[in-house]
């Protein structure tokens, strides 16, 4: 597929569907609803916020209620997310594992066409990020994938929906790749296994980070794999009606682990008691629980968390420090 045809393809997508894609908005690259197909960018740069907000919305209704009766949620619309880098496809593949049994996520996925490409961000975080190779495709979730070669694109499909889309568009020269799951035949990521093994070796790492982190939670917002949430009821004005919602939260907030009970020095009892414990908890999720649960790291190495951190906490440095183990 050449550039001209690609632009026709993007226009074709926009005629039929709601399309989200990276564009420059007020000078910043962002994934947003496409209103002008010409503005869509196929770039190795990572938008600050990933596709996450589309597939795992910041807040969504689980169900509605009306006078003591539960009313199911309205179904989400068909949509296309265009222009995901391999890094973000990895994050999406990870979230697909986390929400494998989640009807809300899976229904949304079933109605979303994912179109990825092979450009890899220039910044190297050294962790979990690698150059595109064809053999990684069978471990990524996508419907259509564009492997960039010079000014041409080799086109792959990863699902029947992807095949149908290209057939309808009238493009036949694609190769089909069957998704075989996120983990390679060679086994789980070696870096991940090493970090898991040494995670608890040096407690000083967390003391140091605890004294620097200001618990703003920005890293969790931009992280394409952070997904933790609260569930709460939101009544509406009509008596007895409302919705039960789930919404993003961050484990850096002090109420994250709070429980009911007698207040201690004016504060509610909580299990993550200070910044040190909370930042360790964040790393523990990504590099202990995710590896144990899914054999996948909860990090794709995109470096977004480092970019937004107001106090300069660098995930690369911290992972290197964990790998170094306890320094005597």
């Amino acid at each position: 597929m050449n550039n001209k045809l690609l632009h026709q393809f993007i226009e074709y997508l926009c005629q039929q569907n709601i399309v989200f894609a990276p564009q420059k908005i007020d000078g910043e690259l962002a994934i947003d609803r496409v209103l002008d197909p010409k503005k869509v960018e196929l770039t190795s740069d990572l938008p600050l916020h990933s596709f996450k907000k589309i597939l795992v919305p910041p807040s969504e209704a689980l169900f509605y209620y009306q006078k003591n009766q539960l009313v199911p949620k309205v179904e989400s619309p068909y949509q296309v997310i265009f222009g995901l880098t391999v890094v973000d496809l990895k994050a999406l593949t990870f979230l697909d594992q986390v929400f494998a049994q989640d009807p809300y996520f899976q229904k949304r996925m079933a109605k979303t066409l994912i179109i990825g490409h092979s450009l890899v961000p220039k910044e190297k975080t050294q962790f979990f990020m690698e150059k595109f190779k064809e053999d990684m495709l069978e471990h990524l979730k996508f419907d259509v994938f564009l492997a960039v070669q010079g000014n041409k694109y080799i086109v792959y499909t990863g699902s029947e929906d992807g095949q149908r889309l290209l057939d309808d568009f009238g493009y036949k020269k694609y190769e089909h790749i069957e998704y075989v799951g996120p983990i390679r035949e060679a086994g789980p990521d070696e870096q991940m296994t090493k970090i898991r093994g040494k995670f608890y070796d040096d407690p000083k790492i967390w003391q140091d980070l605890g004294s620097r982190c200001i618990e703003c939670g920005k890293c969790t917002l931009v992280c394409p794999t952070c997904f933790c949430f609260d569930i709460f009821d939101q009544p509406c004005l009509e008596v007895g009606c409302g919705q039960r919602c789930r919404a993003w939260t961050t484990c850096f907030y002090t109420d994250f682990s709070e429980v009911a009970g007698q207040e201690i020095e004016g504060k509610k009892p909580k299990f993550l008691k200070n910044t040190e414990e909370r930042i360790r908890f964040w790393y523990e999720h990504k590099f202990v629980r995710c590896p144990d649960q899914f054999s996948l790291p909860g990090c794709v190495g995109c470096g977004r968390c480092t970019k937004v951190c107001p106090v300069g906490i660098d995930i690369k440095e911290n992972l290197q420090r964990i790998l170094k183990g306890k320094v005597k």
Binding site: P103, C228, G242, R244, A260, G261, L272, E284, R289
Partner: protein
């Protein structure tokens, strides 16, 4: 695909005031299918909610042999429990679950069980006792240590007479009234000169501060870490190991717990 977030509707069937701040609620599912499909094991919990107010986790404290109705003893300690205390018979609630692993009783055939409960932690013990009284649990002796603040706060008092026919129940009060003739002090004071815990499994449920001291007492008496079980409390939302609120180290209290052996969690920073 099963939707774990969609609750079942239930109604309040009975309310019994236990202490000045704790009520024992009996709930029944509205739908017959929900009644028929509900079953649970000792130590499991449900997410109980009121539409418009939200949900929270509560240990089930009735007999596992009568799952068509179930009891929750609820202390008024926060926003939601305050609303729950205002419920009247026939009022509607939402229920999800049961969740969690419970205590694997089948593994302890003919062993003695020592339940150590502090404050609200005593609630969890009731489902063990009620089933033990029927004689259908393949256990040896059932001993209970119950640490409570004072006489007024003793839970399930009216049932003690029946319990004591088969169960050895020892109570200590931290701040009893002058007339109290029983044991005084925190729950560890019940250990006294008891030394023999061979062939015993212990389950501890109570406020976080209690665990360390009780475990020390059990270890002094040569109890193995693998025989000491704890039921942990955490903030919970999803109940199925996704939302992260209840995580400890590599585990989720809602899914891998709430009952853990001390062996399993002793090296996890922040577990107790």
């Amino acid at each position: 695909m099963h939707n774990s977030y969609l609750p079942k509707l239930a109604k309040v069937k009975k309310i019994v005031l236990q202490t000045p701040d704790t009520k024992l609620f009996t709930f029944e599912f509205i739908d017959k299918n929900d009644r028929d499909n509900f079953s649970f094991v000792h130590g499991q919990f449900v997410m109980l909610g009121i539409l418009g107010e939200g949900e929270a986790a509560f240990d089930i404290c009735s007999s596992t042999l009568k799952p068509k109705i179930f009891d929750l003893a609820i202390r008024k300690v926060g926003n939601l429990t305050e609303k729950i205390h205002k419920l009247k018979v026939n009022d509607r609630v939402t229920v999800r679950g049961p969740f969690g692993n419970g205590l694997p009783l089948e593994k302890f055939k003919d062993k003695d069980l020592l339940l150590i409960g502090g404050g609200c932690g005593f609630i969890t013990m009731r489902s063990f006792v009620l089933d033990y009284l029927t004689g259908k649990l393949n256990l040896g002796h059932l001993n209970i240590f119950y640490g409570c603040l004072n006489e007024k706060n003793l839970l399930f008092q009216k049932e003690f007479k029946t319990w004591r026919k088969k169960v050895n129940l020892d109570i200590t009060l931290d701040k009893p009234s002058p007339g109290w003739s029983g044991q005084k002090g925190v729950v560890t004071s019940l250990f006294n000169d008891r030394q023999d815990f061979t062939d015993t499994i212990a389950l501890i449920v109570g406020p976080p501060v209690m665990y360390k001291f009780v475990i020390e007492e059990l270890q002094k008496r040569k109890m193995k870490d693998a025989d000491i079980y704890l039921s942990l409390e955490r903030r919970m939302y999803c109940g199925i190991g996704v939302c992260q609120h209840c995580a400890i180290g590599p585990y989720y209290v809602c899914k891998d717990g709430p009952v853990f052996s001390w062996e399993q969690i002793k090296d996890i920073p922040g577990a107790v």
